[in-house]
Subunit: 195 residues, 2 copies
DNA sequence: TGTACATCAGTGAACGCGCGTTCACTGATGTAC
DNA sequence: TGTACATCAGTGAACGCGCGTTCACTGATGTAC
């Protein structure tokens, strides 16, 4: 058995991570397989040793965020999934709706960079997207103080504010208005999880 | 001067309106010029009599919403721009975050259907998108009771909830979760403009 | 320990298709007389 | 009022390029002996 399974897995992971970043930058359709493979230090043809189609790569790239880049991101924000405390909902929102996240094209959450692309993608990709949102809502809901009778409603709304605020801010050409939207969504999301 | 200017203008408007709908359904890149022209009852080649590039059409399609489909939409919701009253912020939110709007693929607001596409489009298209948001925020802000000291913040947040809630709901494969997000965003947006 | 071998990750040329754009043309229509 | 003409909206064939995918191959590496 030439080439260890670990080697194969490492190459595959490298392709997925490269793709995640390029999709974040340019969107699904504006990234070519050639580009991904070259950026990953490989050549075009090898792609199909690892993935069936370009769409399959997209699905993996979206899905990889939760435990990949997203995990680093939670760590930086001081969020410990195995030990959620009420204040972590606020920390989550602070991090998600931060100017840093707005400026971090490569590392951003796929829900911000790719919603339209996912809406038109295959069911696997949409399922990966849904998992991302479900995880976010779960985290917010679990962290919100149990005294709040509208926990679920507030968690869902905070998630909508997080994604909506960032999507709008990303799309606006005027950075002043973008910043205004981000800041307003931030303030209101904090109020929603901690009324 | 053969063919009246009105005829030319009518054809052009027909192309834009057809394109707006097709972009809403399939996204910018998944719609071909051939498709648009055929659907508008014309043939491929004529396109360039009216537009310089496909991107120019995109920009017009986004921009056409405000005074086109969006105007019908405001009328149905009972919103009169020349005579805004406090309760109209609520009517606006009721209409935007309604199950009907969620189901209306063809008629939906471009901010919901096309945010990722616009984020990667040319400056004209982004400017058209910004005009849409600016109009929405202006409407909400103007309608919100002047007693509210955080008018602008609340209007911006309500807009983020409107767009964010709908974008998420559109992208989710589970219609139950989609409906839950929509309803939560709706409730919280209403609270934001009318605390 | 060293070597022949089998495997399969990776290579790069080629294929085929779709689509944005161009272009020479056609023919419907308004105007001048 | 009727007709010849000029204009230009609309036609449809063709071009050219890019990209997803395929395929015959190469050569690095782990294993058997």
């Amino acid at each position: 058995m030439p080439y260890s399974a670990a080697h194969r897995e490492k190459t595959r992971a490298k392709i997925v991570e490269t793709a995640r970043i390029l999709f974040n930058r340019h969107g699904f359709q504006n990234v070519t397989i050639d580009q991904v493979m070259r950026e990953a230090g490989l050549t075009r043809g090898g792609f199909y040793n690892h993935f069936k189609t370009k769409e399959a790569l997209f699905s993996e790239a979206v899905s990889s965020f939760l435990m990949g880049r997203g995990a680093e991101w939670r760590e930086d924000a001081g969020i410990d999934l195995s030990n959620l405390k009420p204040e972590m909902a606020g920390q989550m929102i602070d991090a998600y709706l931060s100017p840093q996240h707005l400026g971090d094209i490569d590392g951003q959450c796929p829900m911000i960079a790719l919603p339209s692309d996912v809406a038109r993608a295959d069911p696997e990709t949409q399922a990966a997207f849904q998992k991302l949102l479900t995880a976010m809502v779960w985290l917010l809901e679990t962290a919100i103080s149990p005294e709040n009778a509208n926990r679920r409603n507030d968690a869902l709304s905070a998630a909508a504010l997080c994604v909506g605020g960032m999507v709008l801010a990303r799309t606006l050409p005027s950075s002043e208005l973008a910043e205004e939207v981000r800041a307003a969504a931030h303030r209101t999301a904090l109020k929603a999880v901690n009324p």
